[in-house]
Symmetry: C2
């Protein structure tokens, strides 16, 4: 069994893009710095999506220009189309040499209707659009990661056949993505399903070419991660405090919380390079930025036990 696991932190992009309160750029950078200090090796920082669609990420260029470099840390930025790639390349050029390394990421769904709803294209149109993004990005020296949404179920179509998910995954790898992250967008995945999907996917890809992006909507995220670990995967996505991931309702869970993932991994003896107290500090900051308690369980347990200890000492 591998002893090192790579945690992909997606909170700053996925978590902050849907907030009612638009978090000011300096506060985003404060969170990014703290996550970087905590030792997270991969951080999804923002998205060069059109500000027309997601006004909260209109500052993507400023964010990328100011990303704090740390040894071994690579950032990711979503790039939905050729225009987005242009913006990313401009921001990188502005940041100059010595800037933190930034990879690109492209995303699509395994189901037609979710893809249509989310990025306003059919799957065929999306592949065509990615031809204008991925090969040019690679040609400019960028690394590109792929995300497949609705890999465990679609809010419009229900069950999604694992064969379809593997087909999309293969297309993204063939385009040149170094890794594809399989997303349980609505948090319906269960362990046998994860095992079956990974069996099929690992017949076509190496373990390091795959990642799991689980949602904890029904409490099954870490059980599915365990299946992924047993299948040989070494990369898992998560979000600080469980921020984002389109939870159904306030208090409901979306993205797997980074603290929960890291807690389990460390408890199992895996190395992540993540510093626990600094990760908790980042979770506290994320809560302050969005102005409400986040659903991450290990975060809440840690903060509550500190309060109890402080009470005993005081």
């Amino acid at each position: 069994m591998p002893t090192r696991v790579t945690v992909y932190e997606v909170g700053p992009r996925d978590g902050l893009q849907n907030e009612a309160r638009v978090v000011p750029t300096p506060e985003k950078l404060r969170l990014l710095r703290l996550l970087a200090d905590a030792g997270l090796p991969r951080i999804e920082a923002t998205s060069f999506v059109s500000p027309k669609w997601i006004p909260a990420l209109a500052d993507a260029g400023d964010v990328v220009a100011a990303l704090p470099p740390r040894g071994g840390l690579r950032y990711l930025v979503l790039v939905p189309n050729a225009k987005g790639l242009e913006r990313l390349l401009a921001a990188r050029a502005a940041a100059g040499p010595g800037a933190a390394p930034v990879d690109a990421a492209v995303f699509m769904s395994a189901s037609e209707s979710h893809n249509q709803k989310n990025i306003h294209k059919s799957l065929a149109e999306t592949y065509a659009a990615f031809e204008e993004v991925v090969p040019p990005a690679l040609a400019k020296g960028l690394r590109v990661r792929g995300y497949v949404s609705t890999a465990f179920g679609c809010p419009y179509e229900g069950a999604v056949a694992p064969e379809r998910v593997v087909e999309v995954t293969e297309r993204l790898l063939a385009l040149g993505c170094y890794q594809v992250s399989l997303g349980d967008t609505i948090g319906v995945g269960t362990p046998n399903q994860a095992r079956r999907l990974l069996e099929l996917a690992l017949a076509r890809a190496r373990p390091e070419q795959l990642a799991l992006h689980m949602h904890d909507t029904r409490g099954t995220a870490l059980a599915n991660v365990l299946v992924g670990l047993e299948a040989g995967l070494t990369t898992f996505d998560a979000s600080v405090g469980g921020l984002g991931g389109c939870p159904y309702a306030p208090g409901a869970a979306g993205n797997l919380a980074t603290e929960d993932l890291v807690y389990m991994l460390h408890g199992m003896g895996y190395e992540t390079g993540v510093d626990w107290p600094l990760l908790i500090a980042a979770g506290e900051l994320a809560q302050r930025l969005v102005g409400r308690p986040l659903p991450g369980k290990a975060l809440q347990a840690e903060l509550a036990s500190r309060t109890l200890l402080a009470g005993k000492e005081g």
Copy 2:
């Protein structure tokens, strides 16, 4: 792999005993009826602990006398001492023939300091006390289940050696308990730890003699249940809505939620006999009884998706 899993519902006892608001007996019985209707095969109904310690359960006799019988359903009642056994036997006698079957349960910790704090006895004193409860209960035709708290960690001592947990388990089985439930009282357990503990325990006990009682304080409950399933266990404890289990703070998770457990089991193809809509109805009722949202994730996802659907239809 076995295809049938037994879900032990502990909400009515474990969940309601620590509520600030004492839930009136008729409301407790309403919840018990709904859980029985939902098809849960085992329900921990109350405790014959001294009302001095837990006033909220002073109505244990009335509850036991009124437990709704259902085919295949057995209730459990905690019996901490000889006095408690006397009260249980009296309540059973009062309920008469045709009453629902009720088993007894005894509980202790794997760690000295938690046992002392929780039941005010050393481990040695507890074994001695159980000699006055378990054999007499068996002699009266009762079945007795055992619980081992702090089986994955102790709030006062930290790590608890699995060998100690297995020793307590063996003592309880030797006393005549038909099953021992290993409790992660503070929700610190991770999968390798669960695997190691079950390996040791299964060298001394049959799978059906063991159960897991996981807490979801750090999000790892279902990952640990998955390990239990893979080890051949077929019995898992959970609490409706995630009620109870001494969560650290409001909003923090204690007991694994029954809905989360049943969601994963059904998703994996296991039969539980539990009816999903009625289980959700029980979760809604539990929330009303305690007057706040409960932490169970699948419950919240289900209720939120209904609200969304109702909004779309309206």
